[in-house]
């Protein structure tokens, strides 16, 4: 951070402290809502959802070989492979948003070209593990699933459309040596890696297992009753795997990158929750922004509501994962399900600052096309989802 930015930040905080009428009852209510929402996250989501998810994300960055994924983005790779790998590679590569743009520029200028590059650019931030897990957990599994499926389909569609629109341009590409991250020599088999990941995902699922509806019988209540025993059992399995299959160095790397994610994401998410709580309140509680505004703008499932949600999502900058509490507030205040998905699909992949960087890489015309395609697709997806989810 530059010194000038720091000064500006301090001045802004000072002005906010000085001028906001903290005594006003609406402001007090909003402030209270902000911390109530933060507490809700702290109590319900941090231990059982976020922490396991951080460990999984850390494991993915350390144990999954990036080189094996990246080699599909070279200039010589088969196009079908490039597109399909690009559309899901966000789960493996892009847990840190700062790696997306350089990779995109690399794929675009040296590698597989504009189609796979834009596919990757879209899918990278949209389908990372943390985002999908948190969406499913807080906004419901239906929206989480719709987000994951929507993101993969969109990524491929966007890439293909871009490749068709700009097919002539694609030929003038510099070819040269490309460097992918070094492939580490490993002692483990793919099966061992897969089992390790599976154990962690199972821990996440069981630790976060929701209380079944009152009076339901059969499997779910039984699982719920035993969930801590199952979780503990799985943890023991995990420890055994770590002890026998992994080198000390790998374990240290794993903990380090998990810690890296926590440092990076917790402050952002905490601030996001506070801001969302202050502006919108928890579901069912009102805060600073009156609910009828939100209902007029993005309530229901009209074309206008969906379009408004996707355009504003495309322009707004969401720091990693903060789209989730903000949407939670919006849905609580009356946002429709369709517009919510529109915003989720258009939001994390695009933002004003992001557009400027993309513009620097591939020019204004292509960037504009890219944004318009995403806004239109998100709007359509929102309308469809809104119809289906009622």
């Amino acid at each position: 951070m530059k010194e000038r930015t720091k000064l500006l930040l301090i001045v802004l905080v000072f002005l906010a402290c000085y001028f906001i009428p903290w005594g006003n009852s609406t402001i007090r209510q909003s402030g209270l809502e902000a911390f109530m929402m933060l507490q809700e996250y702290a109590r319900k989501h941090v231990l059982t959802c976020l922490i396991p998810a951080f460990f999984i994300a850390g494991a993915i960055t350390v144990f999954v070989s990036q080189a094996s994924v990246l080699k599909y983005f070279g200039a010589m790779s088969k196009k079908i492979l490039s597109y399909s790998v690009a559309s899901v590679s966000g789960t493996v590569l892009a847990v840190c948003s700062c790696t997306v743009l350089p990779l995109f520029a690399g794929i675009y200028t040296r590698g597989a070209g504009i189609g796979p590059a834009t596919t990757f650019l879209y899918s990278g931030p949209a389908i990372n593990v943390l985002a999908i897990v948190l969406t499913a957990r807080i906004l419901g599994w239906r929206l989480g699933l719709a987000r994951a499926i929507g993101a993969v389909i969109f990524a491929v569609l966007t890439g293909l459309l871009m490749a068709i629109f700009f097919r002539k341009d694609d030929a003038a590409r510099t070819t040269g040596q490309i460097y992918v991250p070094d492939e580490d020599e490993k002692q483990r088999t793919l099966l061992q890696d897969a089992l390790f990941m599976l154990t962690m995902v199972l821990i996440l699922i069981f630790a976060a297992f929701a209380r079944p509806a009152e009076g339901s019988t059969g499997l779910w209540p039984a699982i719920f009753a035993a969930k801590w025993y199952i979780t503990a059992g799985l943890l023991i399995v995990l420890v055994l795997m770590l002890k026998n299959w992994f080198l000390k160095e790998e374990r240290t790397n794993w903990v380090q990158s998990t810690w890296g994610f926590m440092k990076q994401i917790f402050p952002l998410l905490g601030t996001g929750v506070l801001v969302a709580g202050f502006m919108l309140g928890r579901p069912g509680h009102s805060a600073l922004i009156p609910e009828h505004y939100i209902q007029t703008l993005v309530g229901g499932n009209s074309l206008w509501a969906n379009l408004f949600a996707s355009v504003s999502g495309a322009l707004m900058y969401f720091a990693t994962l903060t789209e989730v509490p903000i949407l939670q507030g919006l849905i609580g205040a009356g946002m429709g399900k369709g517009p919510a998905l529109s915003l989720l699909l258009a939001g994390p992949a695009l933002s004003l600052p992001n557009m400027l960087v993309i513009g620097g890489v591939m020019g204004v015309k292509k960037t504009a096309t890219f944004c318009v395609i995403i806004v239109i697709l998100s709007t359509i997806a929102g309308i469809c989802y809104g119809r289906m989810a009622g």
């Binding site: 040296r110 040269g176 991250p181 070094d182």
Partner: protein, 77 residues
């Protein structure tokens, strides 16, 4: 000697730059260490993944924070 650290400014890139600078100082080398943050500049080196370290135009590491002894082997000739 010219050393370039490629990375848009994420914590990993900063850690890499710090390591490189420390090694250069410890070895008492007369080397110029530059940080490249512009994504187009980074793409020109053909690296798929950041942080990356380039020594005299040669890509030495991609996508990880190199350890100090590793850096030492690149700059010692």
């Amino acid at each position: 000697m010219e050393i370039k650290v490629l990375g848009p400014g994420c914590p990993k890139c900063q850690a890499t730059e710090k390591n490189v600078r420390e090694v250069v100082t410890e070895a008492g080398l007369d080397a110029q260490v530059d940080k490249v943050t512009d994504v187009m500049e980074i793409a020109k080196y053909g690296v798929f993944g950041t942080p990356a370290v380039v020594v005299d135009g040669e890509v030495k590491s991609v996508g990880k924070i190199p350890e100090k002894r590793e850096i030492m082997t690149w700059i010692k000739k």
